[in-house]
Symmetry: C2
Subunit: 418 residues, 2 copies
C-alpha cells in the first residue's frame, strides 16, 4: 500500500496524519453551531452531514450524519461501513467528479472544535501488556508474584466509568480522594499526590452481541480505534483496590483522541500477538494478525514550557489484542453494545523509555525522570499538559490518530464548596 492521492492538496504528504488512506471519523462544530459528523482529510474536515444532505452520500434509508455521534453508523454494521469508506474515497480521490460539489463542504480543522466522536455506552479497561503488568506487579507484590496466576490465561479487565470519558483538549482537574500511606495510622481525605497517565489504545465496539463471540467475530464487531489516556490516581488506587479493583482512582477522567481511525485504514498494519508463553484455551486463540503496528509517544509539557517526549512504544507490544479482549468480555453472555469502549490497558515496551505510565517510568517515584527542560517528574504536576501521539507508518504515508491531550488543573481548595 502506498499513498492514495486526493484533490485536497494538504492530504498528499508523507507527513500528513490524515491522507486519503485514513479517512477517520469525528464530530465537529464551528462557531458554536450544532456538532455533526465529519471526516478528516489533510488539514480539512469533510462535512458529511452536508454531503449527505446534498445527496453526495446516499448509502442508507434515513440520514446518518447530522447528529453529534457515529453510533448510528456503527449500528448499521460492516457492509455499510465498507460502502461509506468506498464512497468517501471516491469523492475525495484525485480526479473525482465530485470535487467541485465537495469543495464547498470542507471545513478547516484549524477553525473546528472537536467533540467526543461517539456516545460511550460503557467503558472497560484491560491490563494486557505483559511489560506493564510485570512492572506494576513487581512494584506492588514483588518480582516473584509480579504476574497474577490468571494473567497468561485471560485478558484481565475491569469495568470503568463511561460518564468520565472526555475528548482530547479537555482540562482534567486533579481529584481528591481517600489516601492512606503504608505508615499512616489512619486514612485522610486529600488531593491526589500521585497523579498519573496511562498510554492506551481504545477499541470501539460497532455492533451488538447477545452471547459469547469468537475472536474472529469480535474482530468483525470492532468499528475503529482511538488513542486513550486513562488518568489514574495511584495513591487513591493503592488504598481502595483490594478486594474489588480500582474505582475512584480511575473515575475522574479518561481522555480519547477525537478521530476514530477505522479498522479498514489500519488493515495494512496488522501484526500478530507475541508468542504465547502458555497455550490459550481455544475460545481465546486468535486465528490471524489482530494487533497493529502503531507507533506511540507520550509528550509532557510543563506549564508554559516546551514538551518532552518521555516515552516511545508500539501497540504491537500488547500480549492480548482488542479482539481477544472483546471475545473474553462476551464469554459470560454479557451483552456488548455499539459504543462500548475497550481500553487496551497501558502499553509498555521492554525498555525503560518505552513505559506507558509515570508509575513505571519513575519506578513508583523512586527514579524521577528528567525532562528536556531540566525539570524532574515522578508524577504529573499542576499545569502539565500530557499528550499522546500515534501513527501507523506506511510507505510514503502514515495513518495518524491526531492527539490525545489534557492539561492537569490544580485540585479544588474545598471540593464541596459551591
Amino acid at each position: 500500500m502506498t499513498l492514495l492521492k486526493s484533490w485536497v492538496a494538504s492530504a498528499n504528504s508523507a507527513a500528513c496524519p490524515f491522507p486519503l488512506n485514513n479517512l477517520p471519523y469525528g464530530v465537529f462544530s464551528t462557531g458554536g453551531d450544532d456538532p455533526r459528523c465529519g471526516v478528516a482529510i489533510g488539514d480539512q474536515i469533510l462535512d458529511v452531514a452536508a454531503a449527505e444532505d446534498a445527496g453526495l452520500i446516499d448509502i442508507s434509508e434515513g440520514p446518518l450524519f447530522d447528529v453529534p455521534f457515529w453510533n448510528e453508523v456503527m449500528e448499521e454494521g460492516p457492509e455499510l461501513w465498507a460502502a461509506l469508506r468506498a464512497r468517501l474515497t471516491e469523492i475525495l480521490a484525485e480526479g473525482s467528479a465530485d470535487e467541485a460539489a465537495a469543495k464547498d463542504m470542507l471545513v478547516s480543522q484549524a477553525e473546528a472544535e472537536m467533540h467526543l466522536p461517539f456516545l460511550v455506552s460503557e467503558f472497560t479497561d484491560f491490563y494486557a501488556s505483559k511489560n506493564h503488568a510485570t512492572n506494576v506487579g513487581t512494584m506492588f507484590r514483588g518480582a516473584e508474584n509480579a504476574l497474577p496466576p490468571n494473567w497468561l490465561h485471560i485478558p484481565i479487565g475491569y469495568n470503568g466509568r463511561a460518564s468520565s470519558v472526555v475528548v482530547s483538549g479537555t482540562d482534567v482537574r486533579r481529584p481528591w480522594g481517600q489516601l492512606k500511606g503504608p505508615n499512616d495510622d489512619a486514612p485522610r481525605f486529600a488531593p491526589c499526590a500521585r497523579w498519573d497517565l496511562e498510554l492506551e489504545m481504545g477499541a470501539i465496539v460497532g455492533t451488538a452481541s447477545d452471547g459469547p463471540v469468537t475472536v474472529a467475530e469480535a474482530d468483525e464487531m470492532i468499528f475503529g480505534y482511538v488513542l486513550l489516556n486513562d488518568w489514574s490516581a495511584r495513591d487513591i488506587q493503592a488504598w481502595e483496590y483490594q478486594p474489588l479493583g480500582p474505582f475512584q482512582a480511575k473515575a475522574t477522567a479518561t481522555s480519547i483522541s477525537p478521530w476514530i481511525v477505522t479498522k479498514a485504514a489500519l488493515d495494512p498494519f496488522r501484526t500478530d500477538t507475541p508468542e504465547r508463553e502458555k497455550e490459550l484455551l481455544a475460545h481465546l486463540k486468535d486465528d490471524g494478525p489482530m494487533l497493529y503496528d502503531i507507533d506511540l509517544q507520550i509528550g509532557l509539557a510543563p506549564e508554559g514550557k516546551d514538551e518532552s517526549i518521555i516515552a516511545r512504544t508500539n501497540y504491537s507490544e500488547m500480549y492480548y489484542s482488542s479482539a481477544q479482549q472483546l471475545a473474553h468480555h462476551s464469554t459470560s453472555g454479557c451483552p456488548m453494545t455499539p459504543g462500548d469502549l475497550l481500553g487496551s490497558g497501558t502499553i509498555s515496551g521492554a525498555e525503560k523509555d518505552q513505559r506507558g505510565a509515570l508509575l513505571e517510568l519513575s519506578w513508583g517515584g523512586k527514579e524521577p525522570i528528567k525532562l528536556d527542560t531540566g525539570e524532574e517528574r515522578s508524577f504529573l504536576e499542576d499545569g502539565d499538559t500530557l499528550t499522546l501521539y500515534g501513527a501507523a507508518k506506511g510507505e510514503g504515508y502514515m495513518i495518524g490518530f491526531g492527539e490525545c491531550a489534557g492539561k492537569t488543573l490544580p485540585a479544588l481548595a474545598d471540593p464541596y464548596e459551591r
Copy 2:
C-alpha cells in the same frame, strides 16, 4: 403514618403491596402495544401516559410519560417529583373528583407485561454489608483477614455492566467461563458450577452531579429504590478477580424488580446506619437516618416444586447507606448521571438464615441448605426460580416492592454454536 384510602378498592388492604401510600413507578404494556409509564395502585396500574394526554396530569412543559422509561422524570428533579406524587395522590384518593376520569385509565396488573422501568446509564455494585463482607472474607482469606483494611473507612464498590440489567421475570442462562480450581493444573472453559444470587437493594440516581457531593446532597439525588439480584458465578469470580476485581462473574445478568419505590414513599421507614466501629472521615458521615427498615426475603423454587424461603433479612443491616455510597462514588469528580443504578451489595444479617447469598448460606458449598421440599442446595440448579421479596411495614399498611424473580436456564451445550 397509617393507610391512606383510595377509591381503587384493592389498594385499601394491609396486605396490599401498592396502597395509596406507595405509588411506585413502572413501565408496562398490554397486548403488545408500546411500553409506557404507569403507577401501581392496588392490583391496578394507572396509565399515566393516558392521564397526561387527557390533561389529568399537567406538571411539565412537554410530555413526560409516553416513553418506555422514567429517566425524563428523574432529570426534572425533586420539585417535579414532589408535584407528581402530590397530584397522583389527589387523583387516586378516596373521594377524588378525578375518579370517573381516571377509572378508564386503569389497567389490571394481571394483564400487563412489565419492562425495565428506566434506562440504566451505568451500574455500580457495592460490598457494604459487614456480615456479608466478613463471611465472604473469612471463606476466602481466613477469619484474621476477613475485612480488608479499607472496609471500615470507605464503601468498597466496583463498576458493573449496565447492559446486563434485566427486569424481573427474565430467564437467566447459566454462563460459561474460565474456571480453575485450587487443585487444577490449568484452567478450562466450562459452564459455571457455582451459580449464585445476591440479595441487594438498588438505588436509582435521579439527578446529575459534576463534582463531589456530600452525603446529604447524595440523598437528595436518589430517585427511588428497587430490589436487585446480582447473579454471580462464584467459580469464575474466584479465578478472575485478582488483581482488578470481578468481571465476567457478574456480567451475565442483574435482575431488578419492575417498580421504582420512591424515596417519599419510604420516608416513614428511615433508620440509622449502625454505630461506626471506626469514625468515618467527614465527607462520608451521614447527618440523619439514611437507611430504611425494609424486610427482605429470598424464595427458591426448584422446577415444578413449591418455593422455600431460604433467608430473611432487612435493608437496615447495611453498614453504609446508598447516600454514603453515592457520595463516595463522586469523590473523584466522577460525573453521576440520571439512571445510574447503585447496588447496595449483598445484605446479610448476623444469623445463618439471614444471609443474602448461597455462598454464605451453604458456607461455600460445605453446608448445603435444606429446602422445604426435602432437596438440598449448595448453589443454584438448572430450573430453579429465585425470587426476592421486599416490603416496609407500617401500621396497617405496607410499602411493597413487588417481586424480583428469575429462573436459571441450563448452560448452552456449545456457547459458540449459532
